[in-house]
Amino acid sequence: MKSDSLGSPNKEEPLLELKSLQTHFFSDEGTARAVDGVSYKILPGETLGVVGESGSGKSVTALSVMQLVPQPPGKIVGGEILFKGQSLLNKTEDEMRKIRGNEIAMIFQEPMTALNPVYTVGDQIIETVRVHRGLDKDEARAHAIHMLTIVGIPSPETRVDEYPHQLSGGMRQRVMIAIAMSCDPSLLIADEPTTALDVTIQAQILDLIRNLQKKAGMSVLLITHDLAVVAEVAHHVAVMYAGKVVEYATVEELFDKPAHPYSHGLFKSLPDLAVDGEPLATIPGMVPPATRFPSGCRFHPRCSIATDRCKTEEPQLDYLEGNTGRTAACHHIDEAAKL
C-alpha cells in the first residue's frame, strides 16, 4: 500500500494543501507565532505524519485547518488552506460546519475529555449522523451500531447504550474513531491519538486506523511526537520545528537519512537506536518559546553546523538534489548530510 506516486508526488492533485500558513496568538506578553509559514500537502489515500516536539506548532496547524483555533487570542494571519482545490479560509462558518465531520473529521489525544460524559456513546454517534446525514432515529441507531462493529468494539448492541466512563481508554478512542468515521470523511486528522494509551492498545488503534484507511480510501493527518509511530503508519512525514516545517520526505527517505540537522538530532536521541553503554546523543538547549523565536534559522542556537549566515538569513524549504518531492530548509544541507 506504499504510495505508487513516489516518483511523481507533484503530479497528483493533493487533497489538502497548506501554503505558508500563519496562525498567531496575541496577548499582553507579545505575539506567539505558533504556526509561522507552514506548507505541506496530503495526497488522497495517504497518511502524512507530522512530527515535532511540544510547541512546534503541529497541533495548532491542525486546528487551523478545522478553523477551530480559539479567536481571540488566536488568528490565522496569513497563507492558504486548500482542500479539494478550494480555499477553506474563504468559507463562511456555516459552510465550515458542513465540512467538519462530513469531509474532515478529527480525533484527539484524550478520549475522555473529547467525549461528552452525560451522553451514551450511541447518542454521540447518532447526533453526528443525524446532523450531517439527515438519517432518521432508527437508521441512525443502526448506523451507530454498525460503526461500533467496524472499530472493533465487542457486543456493540449493548455498548451503544453505555456511557464513556464505562469504557476503557482504548475503547473510548475506538468510539472517537467511530464518531469521526461515521460520516465517511475524506480526511481524518488524528492528534496524538495513541499518546495516552498503553503500548498494546496503541498497536491496536494504529492497526485500526491503517485498516480503516485502506478500506475507506481516506487520507490521514497523523500528529505525533513519536517517530516510531510515524514509521508504523505514515507514507510521508513533515518534521516541524518552532512553527515551521523543516523537512518533508517519504517515510523511507527520512528514516534512511534525515536531511535537516534537527531531524538528524531527533533520530540520534532515540533510545531505540542507541549503542549499548554509550550516552544518548542529545540536542543541546530546548525549543524556544513561540514569543521569542530566534532570528534567521530558528534552529541555529542548537545546531552544531550553524554559521553566521544561519543567524541572519532564514532558510526556505527547497527541493533536495536527486530526489523527487523531498524538501528541507537548511543553508548547509551538504554539511548536514555528513552528520
Binding site: E53, S54, S168, G169, D198, V199, T200, I201, Q202, A203, Q204, L206, D207, H225, D226, L227, A228, V229, A231, E232, A234, V251, E252, F255, G265, L266, F267, S269, L270, P271, D272, L273, A274, P279, L280, A281, T282, I283, M286, V287
Partner: protein
C-alpha cells in the same frame, strides 16, 4: 539470595480497602500489588514495566512507605557491613532516618514542585529538615546540586513556573539527590518529556548513577527507554511479576506469553520493518476479584485448562531469568 544486594523484597503486598454503606463496611480489597519478590543490587537499575493498572507505581510508592504496605518484607542493607533492616517493620519515626537514603522522582514535573516555593528552598528543604546543612553551607550545597544537574546556580531564587518541563525534572532530580541517597525510585521520570529533552535527562540519570553509585527502581511504560537504561527488568501483570530477568534476557528471549505480546506491540522506528503485533483480546481482569488461575489466561493464545485452575509458580533459576507460566513447567 545475594547477601550484598541493597534491597531484598519478598511478598510485597498493597491492598486498598473498599468501604460501602453508611457504616463504611469493609467489603473487599483492590489488590493493587499482590506479592512481589525481587532483589535490587548496588548501583543497579531494575525496571518495573507493564500496562496501566498493573501496580508498578503502587509498588514503587509502597517500597518507600508512601503507602503503608499490606504485607511482605523489604530487607534493606545500607552498607556492606551486615546491617539489615526490614523497612516494612520499623516505625514511621525510625523510617525517617532511612528516608534520606530512599528518594523518588515523579512523572509530572509540573505537579511535583510547589509553585510557591523557590527552587532553592525546594531543594534545600530536605537538608534543613534532616539537619544536614544550614545557612551558607546549605546555600552552597543547593548551588552545587543545581550545577550538577545542569542548571545555573543563580536560578535558586526563582520559582518553578519560570522553567520548562525538562528543567523542572532536573530540579526534581536535584531535590532527590540532596541527601546523598542510595536508592531512587524513578516513577515515569522521563515519560512526560519531549524526545530531545528526554535524552538529556536519561543521560543525566546514568551519569549520576555512576558518580554516586545509585540504585534505581525505574517505573516506566516506554519500553525503549527501559531497554536502554535497565540492568534488569520485571514485567508486571495485575499486581504480580510474571517475568523477571536481565534486560537482554527479557528483550531477546522473552518466555511469558504476556511479555511476548507486550514486546511485539512496541512500534519499531524503521518503516521497512513494520512490527507484527501479537494481538491481545479482552480486558485485564478486575484486581478486586482476580481469577484463581493465571491472571493472563483469559487473554492468552496458548492457555490450557490448567491455566484456569491454579496460579503458576515462577519457573527458572532463583535470582536469574524467571517466568510464571504453566507452559514453561516441564
Amino acid at each position: 539470595m545475594s547477601k550484598d544486594s541493597l534491597l531484598e523484597v519478598r511478598g510485597l503486598k498493597k491492598y486498598f480497602p473498599i468501604h460501602k454503606g453508611i457504616l463504611s463496611r469493609h467489603v473487599g480489597d483492590v489488590k493493587a500489588v499482590d506479592g512481589l519478590d525481587f532483589d535490587l543490587g548496588r548501583q543497579e537499575t531494575l525496571s518495573l514495566v507493564g500496562e496501566s493498572g498493573c501496580g508498578k507505581t503502587t509498588a514503587g510508592r509502597t517500597l518507600l512507605r508512601l503507602y503503608e504496605p499490606t504485607g511482605g518484607q523489604a530487607i534493606y542493607r545500607p552498607d556492606t557491613d551486615g546491617l539489615e533492616v526490614d523497612l516494612f517493620k520499623i516505625s514511621q519515626a525510625e523510617m525517617r532516618d532511612y528516608r534520606r537514603d530512599l528518594q523518588i522522582i515523579f512523572q509530572d514535573p509540573y505537579g511535583s514542585l510547589n509553585p510557591r516555593i523557590t527552587v532553592g528552598n525546594t531543594i534545600g528543604e530536605a537538608l534543613r529538615v534532616h539537619g544536614v546543612a544550614s545557612g551558607q553551607g546549605l546555600n552552597d550545597r543547593v548551588e552545587e546540586l543545581l550545577e550538577r544537574v545542569g542548571m545555573r546556580a543563580e536560578v535558586s531564587n526563582r520559582y518553578p513556573h519560570e522553567f520548562s518541563g525538562g528543567q523542572r525534572q532536573r530540579i526534581g532530580i536535584a531535590r532527590a539527590l540532596a541527601l546523598n541517597p542510595k536508592l531512587i525510585v524513578c516513577d515515569e521520570a522521563v515519560s512526560a518529556l519531549d524526545v530531545s529533552i528526554q535524552a538529556q535527562v536519561i543521560n543525566l540519570l546514568k551519569e549520576l548513577q555512576d558518580e554516586f553509585g545509585l540504585s534505581y527502581v525505574f517505573i516506566a511504560h516506554d519500553l525503549s527507554v527501559v531497554r536502554y537504561l535497565s540492568d534488569r527488568v520485571a514485567v508486571m501483570y495485575l499486581g504480580r511479576i510474571v517475568e523477571i530477568g536481565t534486560t537482554e534476557e527479557i528483550f531477546k528471549d522473552p518466555q511469558h506469553p504476556y511479555t511476548k505480546a507486550l514486546l511485539s506491540a512496541i512500534p519499531i522506528p524503521d518503516p521497512r520493518r513494520r512490527a507484527s503485533h501479537i494481538p491481545l483480546t479482552g480486558d485485564v481482569p478486575s484486581p478486586i476479584n482476580p481469577p484463581k488461575g493465571c491472571h493472563f489466561a483469559a487473554r492468552c493464545s496458548v492457555a490450557e485448562s490448567r491455566c484456569f485452575e491454579s496460579y503458576p509458580a515462577m519457573v527458572g533459576a532463583a535470582g536469574g531469568h524467571q517466568a510464571a507460566c504453566h507452559l514453561l513447567e516441564s
